[in-house]
Subunit: 493 residues, 2 copies
């Protein structure tokens, strides 16, 4: 068996190493020669393209259009919004020069000191500032509103400790930036996009999420409110899967963007921003996969089905090829994507292991006896079970199975989260339970001081104040001060 | 008429100003606060998305997959290929620091001198170097070949004189980077992608191109051969619409990428790269548009049809709405994209001018009398002609008309190019004809010196040595030295 060479560190042994092994061995991504920047390999990128396409369709269905703004932000722009500069100016890539010249020693090139920029440019860590400096030219009256724009782009944040997909210096994302005439409309947009994200992650990534609002400590730098969706990984750590920010009039004020309302009154514009990134790839990889490799939800798998022929000789292969061609046509006709691997230089066992590693949801295998009996072997990636079924109506059978798999892995993730979600009332119990991972529902007095103390002592943060949480009041487990509702604590990625 | 406010400088008066007016007034793009970087506005970006989607489909049909490589290139990488560094290291954005800090005077932020990078990073002007440093890890044997990878990305070249879409410091593009076991296969790939580009530009952009090979002077820095497609704009200037490079073993040698062939012999890998960019938007805008605004080929128009109701009162509008809804459903059912503009705060005349400016290929207008007579007014953007036709089968009628428009604007561009293509035999005649614009077929002795002289004296460059040109030999118009075939000269964008 060639499988050994692709073997992963088991999750139980070292979850973190298992993740790294999986990303590398399933050909999803790798580290590049540039510190903290990754190469997204074709198989990983194919999954990202599926994510992009689906999200883009959902953004367009909700009335948004795409545009593109500059990669660079003049340094002075970052300083215009006081909180924003604190959050983003600190770790960023700074362009100071615009030319290289031959080194005087004849070896290579050096920065040309004569080509120093008057004002440094920052590689965008997020685009609020450059976009609001642009919106100033677009908005005069309420007739110019709302602006519902999204951008697909790369951004750079100079992270010190990076991990493939989860935290990289450069990453790919989308950032929506909308402008509205009223506070109510902007808040509505913020929630609408939070719901779009939640629907996408639950229905396509098969990953249940909790919708909530961040504490002031954890807010986006420059936001009035940051809404988020939080997911629980297999190791019990939380992962923030998307954020939607109500920005109030902060950026409109910073860039002096005013409009005339219907009554001829001037006011600052209200705004939102919202984004998800290639970090979703990390969540996708971690949520369903196992020690044999990736487990992909059918809706995001580059191929939903792989077919492997089991044959003794050319004649046998040729007969199988013929039958498989029919099956492929039937599958494609009902919208199932399929790869037929009849390459001859690899053995079936190698192929089985390879496609297991790559997470293809359904594997069909057909041998000489199957051909005779009009059957085919169907293997599910999620449960690793196999059965032999009739080839009559196999395409419909497979399509239904894909739906079942999509639901099953969602249910499995939901069951896992339910088991790993506990309510605690005392800080001692909290300290004990946090070691097991999972979401902890506990009362908090609403102060940043208590939040900080808990973080320092337990490494747990408040993931969110859940939007649909139980509103029974109580007392803070640390200070005994009153609390309006339980909030969600966890250790997080 | 609100039309005046959108009026463009006529082409005959100032072609260059007409182009700038058009890009701004049709809401395609605008200059940003960052020198040389543009903002691509939603309407412009919608056209770019159409271009991207179609090209991406064509790349995938020819066996390519997408991936993503880092934005940054270590400075030393650029120097590894001697020609490459000469071409690209000179005008580029250089990242020297990774942190800002609060200014000691309390105002804004400054570069933190402590956060200086050991090695500067260059914002990619093109990705051969970072990609070949990555391929080194991917390629050991002929079994790992070919690699057929494409990347959609932003790149930066610090241009001194910029123009929206045509030449900007940052631009969007795709860059294919392929690796092959043999020279023949790499050359074949280079030509294949040149043909993909030519098919796209001719069939989708409705713009005829000449396929050719660049002279050594005009080659991509690091290529053995650069193939290109050249188009002629309305003002008689040429525009390079795409390039496909045969890179030989240059980058494999620079990054020491060797493979074991079938016979167990080691050799350097052969490679190609090929790209088109948002510059195509410039070509698209310039090739078909007129003094009333944009003229878009139906295959790339964000909306192919706009419908405008002409009504006196609410009752009349409501009856028209009902009929138009049927027509919209019929159009969508046969794959025609349509926008219905029944907004009440703008007059039909304003809407007509607006959609003319935006280049929507077909405009339908329906009034009370049309409703009575079961007719509709059909206006073509390309010819600016109108006719009243029966609404029976209007969807099919419109679909056929869109095909006719697609062909008509291609034919118009081809006729224009044919008229503006001349053969000349003497340098005097050349100097006279070049003032009229257009392609000039002339003999050239094959030396960079003659090429340079002609460029200096006439501002004309050799656009390409055409692949399907007449192979009759002759003598160079300047030096009288022998020439194998006529080459194409023009002044160019």
């Amino acid at each position: 068996m060639a499988k050994e060479i692709k073997e992963l560190t088991p999750r139980s042994e070292n979850y973190s190493q298992w993740y790294n092994d999986l990303v590398i061995k399933a050909d999803l991504a790798e580290n590049s020669a540039v510190r903290g920047c990754m190469v997204i390999k074709p198989y990983g990128y194919a999954i990202w393209e599926k994510i992009q396409r689906q999200l883009d369709d959902m953004f367009k269905e909700t009335g948004h259009v795409n545009a593109y703004f500059p990669l660079f932000i003049p340094k002075s722009f970052l300083s215009k919004e006081a909180d924003h500069v604190e959050g983003f100016a600190k770790e960023c890539a700074v362009v100071t020069h615009y030319r290289l010249k031959n080194d005087s020693n004849g070896k290579g090139v050096v920065v040309d000191p004569e080509a120093k920029l008057e004002e440094e440019l920052i590689v965008r860590p997020t685009s609020e500032t450059i976009i609001w400096s642009t919106y100033k030219g677009w908005i005069q009256s309420y007739r110019d509103l709302p602006i519902l724009v999204n951008q697909w782009a790369n951004v750079v944040r100079w992270e010190m400790r990076t991990r493939l997909f989860l935290r990289t210096a450069e990453f790919l994302w989308q950032e929506g930036h909308t402008a509205h005439a009223t506070r109510e409309e902007a808040v509505e947009e913020t929630i609408k996009m939070l719901n779009v994200y939640a629907d996408f992650v639950e229905q396509y990534m098969a990953l249940p999420v909790i919708k909530g609002v961040k504490t002031p400590n954890e807010r986006f730098a420059g936001a009035v409110d940051t809404y988020c969706i939080e997911a629980l990984m297999q190791d019990g750590k939380a992962l923030q899967a998307g954020t939607s920010h109500f920005l109030g009039q902060n950026f409109a004020k910073a860039f002096d963007v005013q409009f005339l309302d219907k009554d001829g009154k001037r006011d600052y514009v209200w705004s939102t921003s919202w984004g998800v990134s290639t970090r979703l790839m990390g969540a996708l990889i971690m949520s369903h996969s196992d020690d044999n490799g990736l487990v992909l939800p059918p809706k995001l798998a580059p191929y939903q089905v792989v077919i492997v022929p089991i044959y003794k000789d050319e004649e046998s292969l040729s007969a199988i090829n013929e039958k498989v061609t029919e099956i492929i046509n039937d599958l494609k006709a009902i919208g199932v994507s399929v790869k037929y691997d009849n390459t001859q230089n690899k053995k079936p066992g190698w192929k089985f292991a390879e496609y297991e590693l790559k997470g293809i949801p359904v594997r069909l295998a057909m041998g000489a006896r199957d051909l005779e009996n009009k059957t085919i072997e169907v293997a599910r990636r999620d449960t690793l079970t196999k059965e032999t079924v009739s080839i009559d109506n196999i395409a419909v059978y497979v399509k239904n199975l894909l739906n079942e798999i999509q639901q099953n892995i969602y249910q499995k993730a939901l069951d896992h989260r339910n088991v790993k979600t506990v309510s605690v009332d005392t800080y001692d119990e909290f300290k004990e339970k946090i070691e097991d991972g999972g979401f902890i529902l506990a009362h908090w007095d609403g102060t940043p001081e208590t939040e900080e103390l808990i973080k320092e002592e337990t490494k747990a943060t408040i993931r969110c104040i859940p939007l649909n949480g139980n509103l029974t009041p109580g007392v803070d487990m640390v200070t005994g001060m009153p609390s309006k509702q339980r909030v969600i604590f966890a250790r997080a990625y």
